[in-house]
């Protein structure tokens, strides 16, 4: 369980590392802790998996990956884990999840693939299909990015259920 102090640390850490000589010291001062205590806390968060990664998130525009496709697969239940692991092993696959089937929606394994073109995404999907023997799949290309933002955790005083006000406060 997270303590109130943990939450306070997360609230500040999610703003990112300041570009100053001793960034942990700067943050620690705000939290009224020492630099060492903060670094230890961060290590604990990493060990416990609450921090998935500590580093930079880099935008991928301009970097040569123009097409992304969600490839969805209809996989027999008993083969999902094995298939998911095989697909996750491909470097072109950036995300791979099992999700539930729904009425009119037979696909239970989701992958996101990135490539230089649609044709290349098609090609990757074919290779994934050949590697796993799963033949019922569909590529769904993205047309427009409508929103992309980082989640703000444990923010006080902000309504999570807006909907009324701030209709256009996009990320």
């Amino acid at each position: 369980m997270l303590t109130e102090q943990d939450r306070q640390i997360i609230r500040i850490l999610q703003n990112g590392m300041p570009l100053v000589s001793r960034p942990f010291q700067t943050i620690a001062e705000k939290l009224k802790m020492t630099e060492d205590e903060l670094i230890d806390k961060i290590r604990n968060f990493i060990d416990n998996g609450q921090i998935r990664r500590f580093g930079a998130t880099v935008r991928h525009f301009d970097l040569g990956f123009v097409a992304n496709a969600m490839v969805v697969w209809d996989v027999p239940e008993e083969k999902v884990s094995e298939t998911g692991r095989i697909m996750a092993g491909f470097k072109e696959v950036t995300h791979c999840y099992r999700r539930p089937r729904r009425p009119g929606w037979p696909y239970n394994l989701f992958t996101v693939v990135h490539g230089q073109s649609r044709e290349y995404c098609d090609e990757i999907a074919k290779r994934l299909s050949q590697a796993t023997g799963i033949t019922n799949y569909s590529l769904i290309f993205s047309a427009v990015e409508l929103k992309k933002s980082s989640m703000r955790y444990f923010e006080l005083g902000k309504k999570a259920k807006s909907g009324d006000q701030g209709l256009y406060q996009v990320g």
Binding site: I10, L13, Q14, N15, M17, L19, S21, R22, F24, I39, I42, R43, F45, Q50, I51, R52, R53, F54, G55, A56, T57, V58, R59, H60, D62, L63, G64, F65, M70, V80, G84, R85, A88, T94, H95, C96, Y97, R98, R99, R102, F110, V112, S138, I140, S142, E145, L146, K147, K148, S149, S150, M151, K158, K159, A160, K161, G163, G166, L167, Q169
Partner: protein, 163 residues
Amino acid sequence: MYLDNIDRKLLNLVQENFPLVPEPYRKLGGIIGMGEGEVLARLKRLQDKGVIRHLGAIFDSRKLGYSGTLCAMHVEPDRVDEVAALINSFPGVTHNYLREHRFNMWFTILAGSRAELSEILSLIREKTGIKEIMELPAEEVFKIKVNFDTETSTVSIEGYIEC
């Protein structure tokens, strides 16, 4: 923007291994062979130009006690802007993509609890009048971490669909 080889090296390094030491930028400089000042100047430029979106902790929402799901719905083409504006107004909606499919709007929601998640989805149904929203929460994660080699081709894609 143009990235030189040193930018790429720095990006590569800082994606995975931000040093957890009192003077991390000095340490990064030591690895690449430059001073702390130049590391800070380059990172500042990469941030200002939007190449670096975030520098620091990337949290696992589930481990923080949050609930989330991927959602898909069919929105008539002439209502896309209006419906997107409504859905995007919820802070917990982190990603929203228009995709080429009958289910054309795909978005992710994070909320502090399952109850709050249901409440937000009910509000979206009510306010848009669109009853059919497919909820597709991740049941098993096989891969999420993404780091491409910035020295050869470049890229990192994070939290693209996190729920």
